[in-house]
Symmetry: C2
Subunit: 585 residues, 2 copies
């Protein structure tokens, strides 16, 4: 194909406002253009990369018996009201009405739509399992779209949905899809890790993320330096090693801490480590007030908390002192039905320190009566020492509510945890009956009983892959495409298109390579050689054939974009050279 016929608006300068390397280079190399904040045009070169990625996805999914379809982008709001996500998804959902005032959303994902479809068309286990997918533009009204295609408002996704009558069938499809995703990312030439994912907002029991390590990544990947363990920070856990304390449990004592503003202040005042201070945080979890207790050195992991309660929404609530009400007699009247949970590390605590308002909440929630805890006294500005949760509150509910830290022991006991940044490029979920139950999608099972259909879902961020690959593989001169997804396989560059011999030979080489099944870009522009070379490096086609003065001797230069290596070859050896290179890049 002739370069003069393709819109490739390369730019010499870094575009203003682009921070990430991939964003800068995809703009500079003329692959994408912003139409509005977070909405990009995929220009012909980007479109060709997308097309090759889509082909790879289709080939691998089709092997698993998944079949392609296409759902409407506009989804009736009613579907999402049934699933509860219409409210839960919040301001990231694009909402609109049709002329008859019916509410719609622009689909960020299609669990509800496809569940309604299966509900309307499949009534028996005999028609299952099924796995259907689509590759389509999706919509998310990001507050701050950034990094080009990494976080945009309109983006291209593969989304596949499986339906089964048994957990075994779901497991089998999940494994097949995991395998297919692995092949897809391998074929694309991406460096990636499969890690334990957060299934939080999607509902469901089991999930795995495919994450491409890159400095610009917004996810933190936690991995063991001595085992296969890898997880999203949101889900990462560690091996809890509660050191046995040999200290003698002391009795609860109230101390005044009026001037202490934070955990560190209390620790300093009482001359204990921050680890001995209980950090208490009050959350509103789907309307329920929840007090979370952690050791002072830990950070709460809201994602784990949300998953623990299987909640749609979670947010920090006002402090207990504000939520409660200090009565005239100095007692604290608390809102009823507060729930208390504590991180596993709190369990073995001996002689901890805890704020008096939090203590009041725990006493209330556990229905406990404790010596030395006088709820008729104004608790504000006071702490208790001698807090021994196993002794004082044996029924306290424990869980993993903390962020792991670098250096923690891997949960499999092998190695310590390290952090790295990653870009989420794929995600597979066992949804179970999260959507089929709320949307009432049932089938008759083998025994003639109605049961909710069992679902899985599987997604790949197709447009985002362009950024992920670029973050990993570009250099200071521009993009470097892996052969499998490059916009063209070979770039033919006659230095002077007005030179009859160069032009004719370039056209002949192009035709020959195209006849061999390669995609070839011929730079037929009347530009200076410097401009052509710079553009070629920027665009990043894996192999370049340069035609210069030596065409008189039937010699051309072959350059490998990735390594910069060049080979001079006779024209009649060219096919052989290209064949060998194409296999080995």
């Amino acid at each position: 194909m002739r370069q003069s016929k393709i819109l490739i608006p390369t730019q010499k300068q870094d575009p203003a406002g682009a921070e990430a390397l991939s964003h800068k280079l995809l703009l500079r190399a003329g692959f994408i253009r912003q139409i509005s904040a977070g909405n990009y045009a995929y220009l012909p070169l980007a479109y060709r990369v997308l097309a090759r990625i889509k082909t790879i996805i289709r080939e691998e999914l089709d092997r698993t018996d998944a079949t392609e379809m296409l759902l409407p982008t506009m989804i009736p709001a009613e579907f999402w009201k049934k699933s509860g996500r219409y409210a839960a998804y919040g301001p990231e959902l694009f909402r609109l009405k049709n002329r008859h005032d019916t509410d719609f959303i622009l689909g960020p994902t299609h669990e509800e739509t496809v569940t309604e479809l299966i509900k309307a068309t499949v009534s028996s286990y005999k028609k299952l399992p099924l796995n259907i997918y689509q590759i389509q533009s999706k919509y998310r009204d990001e507050d701050r779209p950034r990094y080009g295609l990494l976080r945009s408002r309109e983006f291209m996704m593969l989304d596949s949905y499986s339906f089964a009558a048994s957990d075994e069938d779901l497991d089998q499809t999940y494994r097949a899809m995991r395998q297919a995703f692995t092949k897809i990312f391998d074929r694309i030439g991406l460096d990636y890790q499969s890690i334990i994912g957060d299934s939080g907002s999607m509902g469901g029991s089991d999930s795995m993320e495919f994450s491409a390590p890159a400095a610009v990544g917004e996810d933190t990947i936690v991995y063991s330096d001595n085992s296969e363990y890898a997880a999203n920070l949101e889900m990462a856990t560690n091996l809890v090693m509660n050191k046995k304390s040999h200290a003698e449990p002391q009795s609860l004592q109230v101390v005044a801490t009026a001037n202490c503003k934070n955990v560190a202040d209390v620790a300093a005042l009482l001359e204990v480590s921050t680890d001995q201070i209980i950090k208490s945080l009050l959350y509103d979890v789907d309307g329920q007030l929840v007090l979370v207790l952690l050791r002072g050195s830990q950070t709460v992991n809201e994602n784990k908390l949300q998953n623990f309660f299987n909640a749609d929404r979670l947010q920090l609530a006002d402090a207990i002192e504000t939520k409660g009400q200090v009565l005239q007699d100095g007692t604290l009247a608390l809102p009823s039905k507060m729930v208390v949970v504590a991180d596993e590390y709190v369990h073995g605590m001996v002689n901890g320190v805890i704020g008096a308002p939090a203590m009041a909440v725990i006493v209330n929630s556990q229905g406990a009566k404790l010596p030395n805890v006088d709820l008729t006294t104004d608790p504000i500005g006071k702490h208790y020492t001698g807090f021994n949760p196993s002794r004082d509150f044996p029924d306290l509910q424990y869980g993993d509510f903390r962020m792991v830290n670098e250096g923690d022991i891997s949960p499999d006991g092998s190695g310590v945890l390290h952090f790295t940044k990653g870009i989420e490029v794929g995600h597979i979920f066992k949804l179970g009956t999260r959507y089929s139950t709320s949307l009432d999608a049932t089938i008759l099972d083998e025994n003639g009983r109605q049961q909710p259909v069992i679902m899985g879902c599987y997604g790949i961020g197709v447009s985002r892959l362009l950024s992920a690959v670029t973050e990993q593989q570009a250099d200071e001169n521009g993009l470097i495409w892996p052969r499998s997804i490059a916009p063209f396989d070979v770039h033919v560059l006659p230095i002077n298109i007005k030179d009859e011999k160069q032009r004719t030979l370039a056209e002949q080489i192009t035709t020959n390579l195209e006849n061999d099944g390669l995609e070839v870009l011929l730079d037929d522009r009347k530009e200076r050689a410097g401009v052509k070379f710079a553009d070629a490096d920027l665009i990043g086609i894996p192999i370049r054939i340069t035609l210069g003065k030596k065409v008189a001797e039937d010699i051309v230069e072959v350059k490998i974009r990735k390594t910069g290596e060049t080979i001079e070859t006779r024209v009649d050896d060219l096919k052989n050279t290209i064949d060998i290179l194409a296999k080995n890049i």
Copy 2:
């Protein structure tokens, strides 16, 4: 591919609410499902047909040097405000806001977006001509979506946009695209006509429609029975043969016609043909009042009227009598600045009859003073006879503002006009500078002068093609797909899948044909033979191979869906039989 793995929810009964044959059959055969009014899911079989159509489109467009890209679906409202279409497009535009209250629309078409793109990336004639296309879901908020994919709210379109520095380059691309569209529709196997199209709402000078004759079509195609002439009724014209009248022009006379409600009443009262009565209609054309005069036997063609004035909007206004105001002295006070135009057939009129209010408007607009026309008299309930426009108003503006009638002479003078119904499946336009001017997209020409870029646009209704093909080719048993776009090439149907010999042979035949490059659907379901046959006819794959009891003798039956013809063939002759059939269907 195994039929048990694909979602094909066939139905025995005609679905409620589906009127058009194609709508009924595409639903019944499990190709599509409605998700909400006018929004359909393309299930796997429909998706496969779409994929084949898209491949044909891509192959033919790529030959013309057009290149594929993809623009965002969400278009900033600002672009459409600049072009004037944000208001003009009316309630069919889906409008939405992002979280920062910026207005967007869902693109029904992308002239503005692509013009902004070219404005931002191309500044010189040296980079032109360019032609870029996309295949994408489009959105139109139809008041009454109907006929399934024929008139839906979300539909798939090919839209291509060309940019040139000269009219010659536009002409060349336009011709190439016309040729490409012809090849595309030929390859799809559609019966279609290329007709003179309406370029109205798109702006622009020249356009051609591709229309598929079908009873359910919403367009009327006008064609000559003796020449190549064919046009959309909205644009169709005829040869004007103003018969020379030998009557003596009479003077204007006022007559009372108070009880006449319409043209026929006046004609009866005055004992003249309706053709001698002037029909006058008052329109609001972009806020300008326009009085249109036609012969009583003609019907106004609002499209021609709108194009004549190059207007965005046009609607019938209230009657002159309401618009004007009868003053106390009996005169009619008219709104100023009314414009009068007359259809060509009015030109040669001798001794016509015209309503007195219309006469008052004409006299006003032409600044004429006429004997016997007394504007100080209340004109309501009166007509004038002896209306001779060439004599009375020599400066009257004429044009073609009428609908042609069946039996009119073709504008090329050869044959008479006939009408038929058609489905618009493609449309090509010379846009000229309609959008580049309003969006200020200029380039430097060869002389270093800024000039607006010259555009063309080219569209195919991709999803609508499924309906158009079905309307033309289905029968009472179901769909009949042309080979080039069939969801599969061959349907292999073992009557009893539990029969070991049938099952094994069916699988072997499937594998062999797939290895020969054919797409094969294997009906591996444990259904009764009757169900399988009915489903096969409904789905409409061109060739069916049925395996029954004669597999014991190595004999299978090959059936051609279109003709119902069957051939018994030995398994070792099967490949040859299929090859011959595949070439000839």
